[in-house]
Structures are given as C-alpha cells and as structure tokens.
Amino acid sequence: MSRNQESRSTIRRQIKLPNREALKIALRSIKIRFWRSMITISGIVLTIAFLTYVILSGYINAAIPFEKGELAVTAAQDNTRQYWLIGISLLVCFVGITNAMLMSVTERYREIGTMKCLGALDWFVIKLFLIEALFQGLIGSILGAILGALASIFVSFVEHGGTVFALLPWGQIFSGILGAILVGGVIAVLGAVYPARRAGKMPPADAMRTEI
C-alpha cells in the first residue's frame, strides 16, 4: 500500500523513448515480414535502378568523346524523355510505398493499440513506421543503385568496347550512386508519412476490437 501513497496524485508526463528502442522494434518488424517487405522493396529497387542507370549513362556519355555531333543531340533528347519517365516512376514508387504502409498499419491496428495502451506516445508509433520505411527504402535503393550502375557500365562497354573502362568518370559514378540511394530513402520516408501519422493517431481502445 505504501507504493500507492507515495505515487498517489502525482501524475507525470510520459517520457520520450530513445530512438534505439524504436529502431530495434522496427527492424524486427521488417525481419518477421521479410517476404512482404521484399515486395515493397522490389518496387524501390526497380525505380532506383532506372534512376541510377539514366544518371550514370548521362555521366558516362559525357565523359566519352563522340566522333559525330549528331549522336550527342539525340542522346540529349533521349535524356529529357528519360527524366520524365524517372519522375513518373518515382511517383509510382511513392504511391506504392504509401499503399503498402497503409496496409501494414491497418493490419497491425491491434498491435498499435496495444502499444499505446502500454504507454507508447503517438510520436513513438510514428517513428516505428518511419524507421521501417527508411530501412526498406535504403535496402531497396542500395540494391537498385548497384543494379543500375552495373547496367549502365555494361551498356557503355557494349557500345564502345573495352577502352571505355579507362574513360569512366568513377567519381561521378560514385556520387551518382550515392545520390540515387538518397533519393530512394527520402521517397520511402515521405511515402510513409501519411500512414505513420494515421498509425500514431489510432486510439488505444482499438486494441480491444475483436473484429477487423
């Protein structure tokens, strides 16, 4: 009973948890839903592979001296069209992530409600989903960037032959890859903002719901 007396009528504010805890829980969520995550990730892989391919092809073509000026012009035209395609594919990727995360939130309503019953703050729940999306985004982007880079180098090798390796702008290729990974990560997190906020706002009483 002494426990009650000392704590009685002293309500304090719930503390914010260290990010490490959110990170741990989010990583485990990805691991246990590995194949499902892979489907979400595959969308990012394709988009970022395409993005990397286009960026790096641009760099590589610029670095290799053309004999005919005409070719350079068509290449430039191709590029504009490709940038449009990239924009659209990034948008599709964004929508895909939002959709996948919304499904994930709906599916886990009871888990989220329970966590809130146990004392999780809205922000903690939001963080869980954002971290999950960030990791999916990064994994997908890294795979995609590698794929895209290999493809662009392979294509230039086929077009120009073995001499191309001496001419490749490695610094630019490297920064292009990094940039593409960054874009993938940002898109994934942005796509998860709305679903994560919805999860954060979910009332704790949802934990008691027995029907879906």
Binding site: R8, I25, L118
Partner: protein, 253 residues
C-alpha cells in the same frame, strides 16, 4: 480471506461522478452513458456485466483512461483524467493501469520476455532491470521456462499468462481485463481466473473485468450490471453465490 476485498482505508482506485458520454453520429447524438456513478476501492475484484450495446465497453474505456467523458468526472487513483493531456494519459496508462485483452494482444515479433519488458521500457527502466523483473513476473505466472518463446509458439492460455505478467510490469493500481477468458476453453479460462484472483490477493491490485463468464463472477467481490447506459444494479458476491453455483454446475457437467 476477505481482508483485501474489504480494505480498511477508503482509497478509491476508480471513482466516476455522473459520467455521461455522447457520440455524435451525423445529425444524431448517441448517449452511450447516461450518468454513471461508481466507486471501486483499491484491492477490489470487480466484474462489469451488461448486454452488448449497454455502454459497457464505453464505461470500460473510460475507466481504463482510453477515452474521456463528455460530462462528469472519472478519477483514476484519485486523479481526474479529464484534465490530462496526451503525455499525462500515456504516463497514466503506462504506470497505473495494466491491460489484459480478450485476444491476448502480445506483440508477435517479440518473445514472451520482451513483451513483458515493453511497458517497463516505455516507463524508462534500463534494459537489464526490465529483463530481471520480466523474468520474475513470468515466473510468478508460471511461465518461467518459456521466456524465450514467441507468442505463436505458446498456447492461448500461456499467451494470456504472458499478458497477465505484462499487465503487472509497472506495478499498476488497476488491472483492466476485457473478456480475459473469452478466447479460452473452460479449463484454461478457469486457470486464468484463478491467476487473476491470486494476483489480486497477493499484490493487492484492483481487478476490473468486463465479462460474460459466470466463473469470473464467482470470484468477484462485486458485480456491476450496466443496462442502457446506467448502472442497473450492483451485487455483492454473497448475494449471488447460490445462483452462480448452479449455473456453473450445469456448464461443467
């Protein structure tokens, strides 16, 4: 036997004063609770009964700090919850109330031990302390051997035991149990009821459960009947003994 059930002090774990809850649905206002007055003393074992649509769940959410009343006051451990902000409510839910659900609601990605330590981590306890206490609590509910198991590797009864241990994690004043035996068979349900009774007696924790389970009524100190948004009647166990005895006899035959 009844010392805990009849505490000498008049400390109230939960007190509601003229609680009214209204839901606005389009143009119509639905009044789920129409003025509930309740006093539940610390250490009591209470069952809340009522048909679906009676306002039972609404009242239950109110007592659990999951929802605020439209009018009236709800005191949990003598604190008026209507004045609390989101951070304070989260703190209250974390420290003062333990929840047990019909569907167990363990986090599937975590082991039994991690599930039990989660509320302690939310409360800011260090991982090592939380682990020690979690193992101790799992021992208390009779799952000392299975602390590394994931929920899916446990039976329903075992999962509910883990949930009981989790509810106790931060030494709450109140354990709120929503149909704790609803998804369990007769025998396991009985074991959970006995476990709750044991925790109630040994730890002096107030237990409030919404239930249809007659076995549950048999161990309750008081049964509160809700009908149509109002307290219909409050019965003490003694008044109910004979009735429940026969019904349970039939059920188990």
């Amino acid at each position: 036997m009844n010392t805990v059930a009849e505490p000498q002090t008049t400390e109230y774990a939960v007190k509601t004063v003229n609680v009214i809850k209204e839901y606005v649905m389009g143009k119509e206002t639905l009044r789920a609770l129409k003025g509930i007055n309740l006093e539940i003393r610390t250490g009591e074992y209470i069952s809340i009964m009522g048909p679906s649509g009676s306002g039972k769940s609404t009242l239950f959410n109110m007592i659990g700090g999951l929802d605020k009343p439209s009018q009236g006051k709800v005191y949990i451990d003598e604190v008026d919850i209507s004045g609390l902000d989101a951070y304070e409510l989260a703190w209250l839910r974390c420290r003062k109330i333990g929840y047990i659900f019909q569907t167990f609601n363990l986090i599937p990605v975590m082991t039994a031990l991690e599930n039990v330590t989660l509320p302690m981590i939310f409360a800011g306890m260090t991982t090592q302390d939380a682990m020690d206490k979690g193992a101790e609590l799992l021992q208390l509910v009779g799952l000392g051997e299975r602390i590394r198991h994931k929920p899916l590797e446990l039976s329903g009864g075992q999962q509910q035991r883990v949930a009981c241990a989790r509810a106790l994690a931060n030494d709450p004043t109140i354990i709120l149990a929503d149909e704790p035996t609803g998804n369990l068979d007769l025998k396991t349900g009985k074991e959970i009821i006995e476990l709750l009774r044991k925790l109630n007696k040994e730890k002096g924790v107030t237990i409030i459960s919404a239930t249809h389970d007659l076995k549950m009524l048999d161990v309750s100190d008081r049964i509160i009947w809700i009908r149509d948004g109002l307290v219909d009647k409050i019965e003490r166990r003694e008044e109910l003994d004979i009735e429940v005895g026969t019904v349970e006899g039939e059920e188990e035959a």
